[in-house]
Amino acid sequence: MKSVVEASEAVALAVKLARVKVCPMYPITPSTHIPERIADYIFDGEMDAEMIHVESEHSAASALIGSILSGARSFTATSSNGFALMYEILPILSGMRLPAVMAVANRTLAAPINIWNDHSDAVSARDQGWIQLYAESSQECVDTMIQCYKIAEDKKVSLPAMMCLDGFTLTHVFENVDVPEQAQVDKFLPAFTREDTLDVNNPKTFGPIGFPDSFMGFKKQQQDAMTAALDVIKKANSYYKKQIGRGYGDGLVELTDMGDAEYAILGMGTLCGTAKAKAEELRAKGKKVGVIRLRSFRPFPVKELQAAVKNLKGLAVLDRHISLGSNGPLFTEISAITPELKLFGYIAGLGGKDITLKHIESVFTDLEKGKQSREWLM
């Protein structure tokens, strides 16, 4: 069924279709429309779930521990400072191997306080054991949300997953979205079952203290699960394509015009839409340019990325976040796996600064000339 909705509503629809049972929610701009739409469904009786009106994002994440351990599929959404308040619980959810799913409407972190988009909230939590998938369109938000449950709940993975969508540039934009039918989703994503629950007939202890003799073993298992997730994400993407009819690259990386490309831009989220438009324009003029969109930032698909850049003469990495005192995190990680490649790193679109076609054009010009004219696109 096609309908014109904003991406926030697309996320809410996906949550309903995934038959989520518990939603602990605390509103924060620009993620607020998501809990508002979910509340509409629950209060109108369209969705059979419990909404917990928690008093903070910290408690939202904490309530996920309880609800998932009680055996219920759960969801929350947040942004920016709310995400930062949750931070303590992020590694606890992943360390306890709970398949929570969260939508992150990406917004920068204060100060100066600023409600607009960049990736500094989610990217700064890259080490906390969550799968991070970045969406580009409202359509992808619906599809990725549903896939997130499939991936997170896979027995080989059993890790929490966040779907990141750019604040305002995606959350508040209305697009034509093809919403899958409930029967299709039910077939793709069976009901949530879990062996390890808080069951009075089979008492178990969750969240014990791990002394130095056992702690590293837990971390190793989490890392192994992350590695296993690479394959699971790919399979979820192809299975979804087969069942419902849409896919995004191989699930990890989406390549546009990369067949014979000599120069390319790599980024995450909506900025890739702008880059693709510019690349198309330049292609018409005979330039061999392409775009690499990284869909899965965690786990980081090393092999897929290395294969994608193999024949390039130059690559530009656009980071919507800066690790102050170092560099763009995406740039740092790409440079670690492509030692031979000519690589330019750009910091772009911080705190809602637009990334324009002009910016993209200047990046492609830099690549062609082999000389980086500036590092900050501002």
Partner: protein, 671 residues
């Protein structure tokens, strides 16, 4: 199964957890769980109880239990409540969220308040030990007049052993001050026989050699100046002690409850060689079961210890062993069992220790004790002896005891043996880890070569001290440290481990004027200056149906309140009084006494607020002075009359406020 008063026999918070001796919180938890029963889910905040009860892969919980973080037990419980409700499984399951005073009064207050406002069906229990405690504590063991004591248990005025720099003798000096030095880098110094941990600036007495023919001298050097090979002064042998006079214990007599006949035995009034040898055997092979009125020794027929055990029983208790079979020898006597249990050697194989008083015995009685030990679990290799035990604490205290007896002692070694391996005389039933320690008697030196010996050992001929070369100095991590100031000599003898001291930091629930590590008893500010946050009243103002205070001093009241709280269809709140011997610096066997005194002095009144109506459950008409409560606790020992009076006024005013509300509807009910 329940007893006559309705207290459940079943345990859902199982024994074997690692809480400190006398932990009030563990006791409260145990009885909460007995009252709540098996159909209960527990969400617990980070804290002592979580640490001691769930060291992976072990768990003391026989109900479903979850821990997330420091401040979110109430939020996790919200999730559980909603999750069960969404699946139609909420009925007939109790839900308890638990946190200490930090998790409830301070950092987790927002989450608690939010969960109450949302009306989740759960009971929140604040286990209040009046500070942020985290026990993982073992402490330096200090030689004192009364035996070995943990550094944290030493009070100003205690007599501790010191090295006299004038005449190189062992002297008793008064401890005049105790300091908390905060977290410092720790170094571990090893000689052949001793191990000690100390901070980098801690001074040790070191021999400075000024060359052959010149007089050497003893100088103080800090740990950072010490090098491997330096010779330091260490204790060789303690002062000759006296036989220990045992405190009187309550003996059973015919006609007592369930006592129909009694076997007449002699109960020793003071220690003797025979008794010590028997106790050595007891530590290795024995057990005591007061409820069965017996002491048993596992000495199979043909074992070299069987005959001595029987002889010693006769000599010590003036009766023969009452029962024996192929593998064991028994003495059936309730009073003998009570006596042995009162001596403090511990009960199970893994929990045995050498109690403090053994350190104060004459050398002959100490030797008899060691003989007994060796007869059971020891054996001889060449000229040295090896003693094997599964109890690490026993080996640690034994090593310190041997260091006071002029013998060479090695390190404590650990080994894991596979199933079926023979250890001493028994085959292991399952793979197990045990420790052992080696020691040997020192050979005398030939007095003909006195000057050479004197050159080798600066303290040659000294009865109590000797020089030992440092084998290694290892840099360790940051740890909290304590130091003592000793009158006159400025030194003391600490031979044990500083592992972790205890974190005892001020919380919103800390009692006024209490000394904690973040509100210390300073020269200018004497401890915590603020009152306790009145959390139960704040909680009651949320309009919930049931709020109550409870204490291990009244277990029936506790049981009733837990069950009442769990029956409420919305949120309910319980405030539990929990003594923390480590944090409060009180004796671990004073936990119940303090809990009772807290009620009798009106410090912690038992009351409930049901449907907004306040009711004092145990009215205290004639209160005891607060001083009686304060003086049992080290955290108040810095207070003078003026502060004690202020505390008395504070307690009186709080009680009057409560009394004025008694029987009245003081809070609105919203649910």
């Amino acid at each position: 199964m329940k007893d006559l008063k309705g207290i459940n026999y079943e345990e859902y918070f199982a024994s074997g957890h690692r809480a400190c001796a006398g932990c009030g919180e563990a006791l409260v938890l145990r009885h909460i769980m007995k009252a709540a029963g098996p159909k209960t889910i527990v969400a617990q905040a980070t804290g002592c109880m979580e640490v001691v009860s769930t060291p992976y892969p072990q768990s003391a919980w026989r109900v479903p239990w979850v821990h997330g973080a420091f401040e979110n037990a109430a939020a996790i419980a919200s999730g559980i409540d909603a999750g069960l409700k969404a699946q139609g499984k909420r009925e007939k399951v109790n839900l308890i969220a638990m946190g200490g005073d930090g998790a409830s009064f301070d950092i987790g207050f927002g989450a608690l308040s939010g969960a109450l406002e949302r009306g989740h069906k759960f009971t929140y229990i604040a286990t209040d030990n009046e500070a942020y405690m985290n026990c993982l504590a073992l402490d330096s063991l200090i030689m004192t007049k009364d035996g070995l004591k943990r550094i944290i248990d030493i009070g100003v005025g205690d007599m501790v052993y010191a090295f006299s720099q004038k005449n190189h003798k062992l002297v008793l000096k008064k401890c005049t001050g105790i300091f908390d030095n905060g977290k410092k880098r720790i170094f571990e110094i090893n000689t052949d026989s001793q191990t000690i941990k100390a901070t980098g600036n801690h001074p040790f007495l070191v021999l400075e050699r000024n060359g052959r023919g010149k007089q050497s001298e003893l100088v103080w050097k800090t740990v950072e100046e010490l090098r491997a090979g330096d010779e330091v002064v260490v204790l060789k042998q303690g002062l000759e002690g006296k036989s220990h006079i045992f405190p009187k214990i309550q003996l059973s007599k015919k006609g007592d409850y369930k006592v129909n006949r009694i076997r007449e035995v002699t109960i020793p009034k003071k220690s003797s060689k025979d008794l010590m040898k028997l106790l050595g055997l007891y530590v290795g092979d024995g057990w005591v079961r007061v409820e069965k009125a017996e002491i048993g020794f596992s000495v199979p027929k043909g074992n070299r210890a069987r005959v001595p055990v029987k002889q010693l029983i006769r000599r010590v208790f003036s009766v023969d062993a009452t029962r024996e079979n192929e593998n064991e020898v028994y003495l059936g006597s309730i009073n003998a069992a009570k006596f042995v249990e009162s001596l403090g050697f511990g009960k199970g194989a893994k929990n045995k220790v050498v109690p403090e008083w053994v350190f104060t015995l004459p050398i002959e009685e100490k030797k008899a004790f060691i003989e007994g030990l060796l007869l059971s679990d020891g054996y001889k290799i060449g000229n040295s002896y090896r003693y094997v035990s599964a109890s690490k604490e026993l080996l640690q205290t034994l090593r310190l005891l041997l260091q006071t007896m002029n013998v060479r002692v090695g390190k404590i070694h650990q080994q894991t043996k596979a199933k079926g391996t023979k250890v001493v005389y028994r085959a292991l039933k399952k793979a197990s880890t045990y420790g052992y320690i080696c020691f040997s008697l020192k050979k005398g030196t030939n007095s003909k070569y006195r000057s050479q010996n004197k050159y080798r050992d600066f303290l040659y001929g000294n009865k109590n001290f000797e020089m030992k070369k440092i084998r290694s100095i290892e840099r360790k991590r940051l740890e909290p440290t304590l130091d003592l100031r000793v009158e006159g000599e400025h030194n003391f003898i600490a031979n044990g481990f500083v592992v972790h001291n205890t974190g005892v930091q001020r919380s919103g629930a800390t009692f006024p004027y209490a000394s904690t590590t973040t509100s210390p008893a300073g020269k200018k500010i004497p401890g915590k200056q603020e009152p306790k946050k009145p959390l139960p009243y704040i909680i009651a103002s949320h309009g919930i149906k049931y709020v109550a205070s409870m204490s291990p001093a009244n277990l029936l009241d506790l049981k009733t309140k837990v069950q009442k709280a769990l029956a409420i269809p919305h949120a309910s709140f319980l405030h539990a009084y929990c003594v923390c011997p480590v944090g409060w610096h009180c004796k671990s066997d004073d936990t119940i006494e303090l809990s009772k005194l807290a009620i009798q002095t009106r410090v912690f009144p038992l009351y409930e607020i049901e449907n907004g109506v306040v009711k004092i459950n145990q009215k205290v008409e004639k209160p005891k002075p607060v001083l009686e409560y304060l003086q049992l606790q080290g955290r108040f020992k810095h207070l003078g009359e003026e502060e004690v009076q202020k505390i008395q006024d504070y307690v009186d005013a709080r009680y009057k406020f409560l009394l004025d509300m008694d029987g009245k509807k003081a809070f609105d009910v919203l649910f």
